[in-house]
């Protein structure tokens, strides 16, 4: 049995960057930076009821589609930078994967990044609901 990969290889670098942080404040700083580096942002003008992620404490919006090459693409936006940063990382992870792969992916990378304190069950809603929404969309797009 080969090595089980918990996230796509190209995310290793990002995860390692977070793991190298000195403390959680540094990790938050890094998330704030990643918030600005979203590879496929969804600007506030496009936020609407349909693409809203429910159960978040802050506003978060996500739309997903399949590009010309058959690669999954997510566009996301959130008013909280921490959620937005996690969205950027997620987009970096999933963009270009096959929808089938995304549909069964687990959010292990977030845990590995060491952002636990923003991921406790009740607070994680922002991130986890966003992640679930992405997976559901991927599942539909696999159909």
């Amino acid at each position: 049995m080969g090595e089980v990969r918990l996230w796509p290889e190209h995310l290793d670098e990002v995860v390692e960057e977070f793991q190298a942080c000195f403390d959680s404040m540094e990790r938050y700083e890094l998330l704030f930076e990643y918030a600005k580096r979203n590879p496929s942002p969804l600007p506030p003008e496009e936020w609407n009821d349909d693409n809203q992620v429910h159960g978040c404490q802050s506003r978060a919006h996500v739309t997903c589609f399949v590009d010309d090459q058959g690669g999954f693409q997510m566009r996301g936006g959130a008013d909280a930078q921490i959620v937005q940063g996690l969205m950027s990382v997620t987009a970096m992870a999933v963009n270009g994967m096959s929808p089938q792969e995304v549909a069964i992916m687990e959010p292990d990378y977030a845990e590995a990044m060491g952002v636990q304190s923003s991921l406790t069950p009740s607070r994680a809603n922002g991130f986890l609901n966003m992640f679930k929404r992405v997976r559901e969309d991927a599942s539909k797009l696999s159909g």
Partner: protein
């Protein structure tokens, strides 16, 4: 496995209690409220000492811990009752649970002339809300009588009463008689005529595992304090399609989506019925109680209790002048033994028993229509639970005999 009652008793600090007169407490008032194991008391103290915080919208560690514990308790409790957390609405107890069905479901779905079927052995909590609706909006309330030979519901009369019924409300187990009603049959027959069914499981839940989803009742009312949990909390379990027919009852924070001065929109599902600061410590305590109960096979527990009750009743019947109301000898009877002495008035008997350390309940037990049917104003009631022992029962029978010898 058989129950290790000594180990069970060791979990309950109160069972070591001595009364002011030096007598060891013998607690036979379990149908009124059960005692609480140390782990339940500790779970609540720990909450207050370590992570007390208002729940929901949790953006700090304590609030997050409190929310996790609160929702964890809901998961644990709903799963104990064989259903999903979405089907459970926290209330302050069985009484509020039934009022929630009256205000949140019946007021929206019943109107003048609609029929609600009750039984003569209901607790006041399952009578007065329906009588009030009858006064307010003119529903018709029917009472299924009991057969006072067998102390069971008159099922022929039940079938007649069902005719045109919209809602049937029946107690799972009578708090006075210990009689367990044939609720499966009642649910099936009621739903067959298109009626919704509410089962008052205040007494049922401490004595058998309630499996809400397979029971298929529309509403099940439960109190935590009768099943090792704290005061101040209970729940109503609601079937999905019944919940969809419900409208808000108490309103305020948490149950809303958006409030403006123009009007408000509400949460969906169970969240629409829970408003205000949650009963956080209480939910955590009840969760611990359910965790504690889960270690036991409730059929064994029932058997243990039933053994004590039926033996006690059989012994009591041999004491001159004692009359038992109910049939504790039946296999499905649940640990309540109601009785009277023909000459020693019930309040007097209660005080005399208390003098011996025996805590029994005396009065109408919030079941006056049943008292009327039995033709008595009140009864004495000894009710047993998991931690009671045959030794306690023996000393009770003994002491009762002594009292009768001395005071009758």
């Amino acid at each position: 496995m058989t129950l290790d009652i000594d180990m069970i008793r060791a979990d309950f600090p109160i069972l070591e209690r001595r009364l002011p007169n030096g007598k060891r407490l013998v607690y036979f008032d379990n149908a009124a409220t059960s005692q609480k194991p140390q782990c339940v008391i500790d779970a609540m103290s720990e909450y207050y000492e370590q992570y007390n915080s208002n729940a929901h919208r949790a953006n700090h560690t304590l609030a997050d811990e409190a929310t996790t514990a609160l929702e964890g308790a809901r998961d644990k409790i709903s799963s104990y009752f064989g259903t999903s957390p979405e089907q459970m609405i926290y209330t302050s107890g069985a009484t509020e649970a039934i009022n929630l069905v009256a205000y949140g479901w019946a007021r929206e779905n019943l109107s003048e002339g609609d029929v609600v079927v009750l039984t003569e052995m209901e607790h006041h909590a399952d009578i007065v809300p329906w009588q009030q609706m009858s006064v307010d909006i003119g529903i018709e309330v029917r009472y299924v009588p009991i057969d006072i030979e067998s102390y069971t519901l008159d099922m022929d009369a039940f079938e007649v009463a069902l005719n045109g019924a919209s809602l049937v409300c029946v107690v799972h187990t009578s708090n006075v008689l210990g009689v367990r009603n044939p609720i499966e049959e009642i649910i099936e027959k009621s739903q067959a005529v298109g009626a919704r069914v509410l089962i008052d499981c205040a007494q049922g839940a401490p004595h058998e595992r309630i499996n809400f989803d397979s029971l298929k009742a529309d509403f099940v009312a439960i109190s935590a304090h009768k099943m090792a949990g704290p005061t101040g909390i209970g729940c109503i379990l609601v079937k999905r399609d019944a919940m969809e027919e419900m409208v808000p009852f108490m309103t305020g924070g948490s149950m809303i989506k958006r409030v403006t001065t123009k009007g408000s929109t509400f949460q969906e599902g169970h969240a629409m019925f829970e408003t205000g600061t949650p009963r956080i410590a209480e939910a955590i305590g009840w969760g611990a109680a359910v965790g504690w109960l889960e270690q036991f096979d409730m059929e064994e527990v029932h058997e243990h209790i039933n053994d004590i009750a039926s033996w006690t009743a059989s012994q009591m019947r041999q004491i001159p002048g004692i009359q038992i109301y109910g049939d504790p000898g039946r296999d499905d009877s649940s640990g309540a033994v109601s009785f009277l002495h023909e000459t020693i008035q019930s309040q007097d008997l209660a005080l005399l028993l208390d003098e011996g350390g025996f805590a029994v309940r005396t009065g109408h037990h919030c079941a006056q229509p049943l008292m009327d049917a039995l033709g008595v104003p009140s009864t004495n009631r000894a009710s047993f639970w998991i931690y009671n022992t045959m030794d306690e029962a023996e000393s009770f029978v003994h002491y009762l005999q002594e009292i009768v010898d001395r005071f009758a």
